[in-house]
């Protein structure tokens, strides 16, 4: 036994000598190299599609995403803060005359001017929040922002849903259901197995916490094309309500700290997804 341990220590030392931190040096060099190679980006003012606009979740979330993008060292951001311009408002202003002209055309009976026009092409997005990958938002607006900010890509997010919720731990449920089946089928246990199995089958574990659903998109400024988008759903579990017969444990209510944690976790998930797709050359097309 002692000889085996000595042998293992010698082999480990040999490996350290042969491979003296090469990977670490490469990893340390890579982020800086990638950031300088990535195109110029700006983070736009985000949108909030929830009922809770008073919470200013969009601003908070945008700042968290910006912070994590900067911390990753992988993105060449042109500003230190999200750009304050409201893209949705800018897009609406750009299209206002188009709506007036289209309404007039329909009223006069010239429907082809509308249906066969540029705005009706499949690739033209209805709105920013419904724009999918490959679709185009108003290029006049995106290219203007891009020129003003010296950015090739605009990063925009939408908070789609935000709220407190409860959800059953389905893994716990699957486990107890399986255990119940086994217990009820063990020969010889008889009534004990039947009762025990029944108790297990009725046990459940319900988590409470904050949930956030966000959409992130990267838009090429020159032509307004959405080159990347991702929807992330994040849950931050705060409390665990365990209910088995003869025992239950319920925890306290949620607070603002939990809400901020949920936004922070969502920002982490989003940036993690962006870095992953950046590495796989799927982010900037």
């Amino acid at each position: 036994m002692k000889n085996m341990l000595k042998c293992a220590a010698v082999m480990a030392l040999g490996a350290a000598l042969i491979f003296p931190g090469t990977d670490t040096e490469a990893a340390a060099a890579e982020p800086a190299a990638t950031a300088s190679q990535s195109p110029n980006c700006v983070v736009m003012k985000f949108s909030d599609d929830t009922r809770y606009k008073g919470l200013e979740s969009d601003e908070r979330f945008a700042e968290l995403v910006m912070e994590k993008l900067m911390d990753s060292g992988r993105f060449k951001l042109q500003t230190q803060k999200p750009i304050g311009k409201d893209m949705e408002e800018m897009l609406y202003n750009e299209r206002r005359q188009e709506f007036v002209d289209a309404k007039r055309a329909i009223e006069s009976g010239d429907l082809s001017a509308v249906f066969e026009g540029q705005a009706f092409k499949d690739e033209m997005a209805n709105t920013l929040s419904t724009a999918d990958k490959g679709q185009i938002v108003a290029s006049a607006v995106t290219s203007r922002i891009g020129k003003e900010s010296n950015a090739e890509y605009l990063i925009h997010g939408t908070i789609v849903n935000l709220g407190k919720g409860t959800w059953e731990d389905t893994d716990f449920k699957s486990g107890t259901s399986l255990a119940a089946t086994v217990l009820q089928n063990i020969p010889g246990l008889g009534l004990f197995g039947s009762i025990g199995g029944g108790l297990l089958r009725n046990a459940n574990k319900v988590d409470t916490g904050f949930g956030v659903i966000v959409d992130m998109r990267v838009i090429r400024a020159a032509d307004g094309e959405v080159v990347w988008n991702q929807r992330s759903q994040v849950r931050v579990k705060k409390t665990k309500n365990l209910n088995v017969p003869l025992y239950s444990k319920n925890s306290a209510a949620l607070n603002e700290t939990d809400y901020v944690k949920a936004l922070d976790k969502a920002a982490q998930e989003v940036v993690k997804g962006m870095v992953k797709d950046l590495d796989e050359h799927k982010l900037f097309l």
């Binding site: 289209a102 009706f120 209805n126 709105t127 789609v160």
Partner: protein, 263 residues
């Protein structure tokens, strides 16, 4: 006497001239109108222009249309595919988001609402509360008399509903009038309809490849809460619209039990 004959001829001539304008609406859409009106059809489509989320920013406008309010948030703003199968009083409506579908099966006066989920490659059918048995709710004909028949989301219900004969349009709902028809440079043809109401203005174009309905597009314009004119488009790609009901959809999926209200 001669004068009366001339007058009669003039009236008859004017009437004959008017006929083509009325009969022009008896175009390619009629075949599809009849399938819907006779409730014998299978329709399969894809909506590539999902609606913006409602009931969150400002509106408290409730709607009786199936599918508008209870789509899980994870699927909002996402395109979807759908299916409508009708055979007499039976009807199946599905809105499919890929790994999740909302389904409704109407069998006589029983209405079953359930969902389809795909997790880790495995497809399961359950009631909305996660059970393997779906309890029927009672069909409410007055709801459809007031708001129109439901074919899925509000966009799909409205665009298919435009095709129905005018006597099937509920009182108070916009009536879409035929505007005209024509041909497109790509070889397709179209028929246009338009409606105007206090809620706004909408035009709908039905595209045909030969006599086959391939696409429905709508452009609607209304004022938002701030008084701004906003426009919205909706495009349905029609994959199938036939007069043969897919009977496999008019019964409960395997593994899902139904509890009827009928005794």
């Amino acid at each position: 006497m001669r004068r009366n004959k001339w007058m009669a001829a003039a009236v008859l001539g004017a009437f004959t001239l008017c006929l083509p304008f009325n009969m022009a609406s008896a175009g390619k859409l009629d075949a599809y109108r009849n399938m819907l009106a006779q409730r014998n059809c299978t329709i399969s489509y894809e909506n590539i222009t999902p609606a913006e989320r409602e009931h969150n920013r400002d509106s408290s406008n409730l709607s009786a249309t199936f599918g508008r309010m209870s789509t899980p948030p994870l699927y909002t703003h996402k395109g979807y595919k759908g299916m409508v199968v009708m055979q007499g009083e039976d009807r199946y409506v599905e809105t499919n988001y890929g790994d999740y579908s909302k389904c409704q099966l109407k069998k006589g006066s029983d209405v079953y609402d359930f969902k389809r989920e795909v997790k880790k490659g495995k497809e399961t059918w359950k009631s909305f509360d996660g059970k393997a048995t779906v309890v029927a709710s009672e069909f409410q004909p007055e709801k459809e008399l007031l708001y129109g028949e439901s074919f899925g989301t509000s966009d799909v219900s409205r665009l298919l509903g435009v095709m129905l004969p005018k006597d099937r349009i509920p009182a108070g709902q916009p009536v879409y009038n035929y505007v005209g028809a024509g041909n497109l440079p790509n070889g397709q043809s179209y028929e246009d309809y338009k409606a105007s109401s206090a809620a706004g203005l909408e035009a709908v174009r039905y595209y045909f490849d030969g006599t086959k309905l391939v696409r429905i597009a709508s452009a609607s314009y209304s004022r938002n809460g701030a008084g701004q004119l906003v426009g919205r488009k909706c495009i349905l790609k029609i994959m199938d619209f036939s007069g043969t009901p897919d009977s496999s959809k008019l019964s409960m999926p395997a593994g899902l039990k139904a509890k009827s209200l009928q005794k």
